[in-house]
Symmetry: C2
Subunit: 141 residues, 2 copies
């Protein structure tokens, strides 16, 4: 189902750190301390829209998105999870899963296009990467 | 799977016109002439997050979202489809499917929180409702 020659888009590579690979998607932590933010990238070359994927892969992708969303909400006790697949700027198919709370830096608007990414301090990034990789654990069944 | 007592949230009711009911979701046309924009609302009371739905309903919901996205792209020949489930303001679970093009009123940012909704002229709204209901047709299998 995945492509052994899959390459992550340079912009996603620059803005994130890898957390874990599930059967279809690579899960990334967005390096932006303003919001707990995970990105799922199906390891499939050339996909831009979700409906570019075969139906079997779409089913797996949404199962992985739902699982990541549920785990992120439980871990962060966020008020609301925001899910988005935009791709207006980075065309490689990727799905955002963001933990939102009243009073966060973009509330109640979307995080996309809101202000400028603020990277985590190095030690915090390392700790959060370990924490989120453990939170995500193995793939959803 | 759906709730016979389901009520559409007043804000969604005010901003949209109904297009068609698929097995799980009610599909609505956002009355905003800036963007071709469909909203899917699962006819389930009390759902806010997608993972509030049972797994069987989530599978149907995403299949319906993917079908709406694919049909909207084909119909509008849009450059990119944006999919979003936010719910920061209207907590009733709903999924946006929006046709985007370079140079539209929010490009390349998200449509959510961007400017103010501009309703269609009445005749245009009626024609587009008919066109989109026909485009959506029966439920995806």
């Amino acid at each position: 189902m995945t492509d052994p020659n899959f390459d992550l888009h340079a912009q996603l590579e620059a803005d994130t750190v890898p957390l874990v690979d599930w059967p279809l998607a690579r899960l990334l932590l967005m390096n932006d301390r303003r919001f707990p933010w995970i990105i799922l990238v199906p390891r499939v070359s050339g996909a831009s829209e979700i409906f570019d994927l075969p139906a079997s892969a779409r089913t797996v992708l949404w199962r992985e998105v739902d699982a990541a969303a549920s785990k992120l909400k439980a871990e962060t006790r966020a008020l609301k999870i925001n899910i988005g697949a935009l791709g207006n700027i980075v065309r490689q198919l990727h799905i955002h899963v963001v933990a939102r709370n009243e009073g966060d830096g973009a509330w109640p608007g979307p995080v996309w296009g809101s202000g400028t990414r603020i990277p985590y301090e190095a030690g915090r990034l390392k700790a959060l990467t370990t924490q989120f990789a453990a939170m995500l654990g193995s793939a959803p069944s």
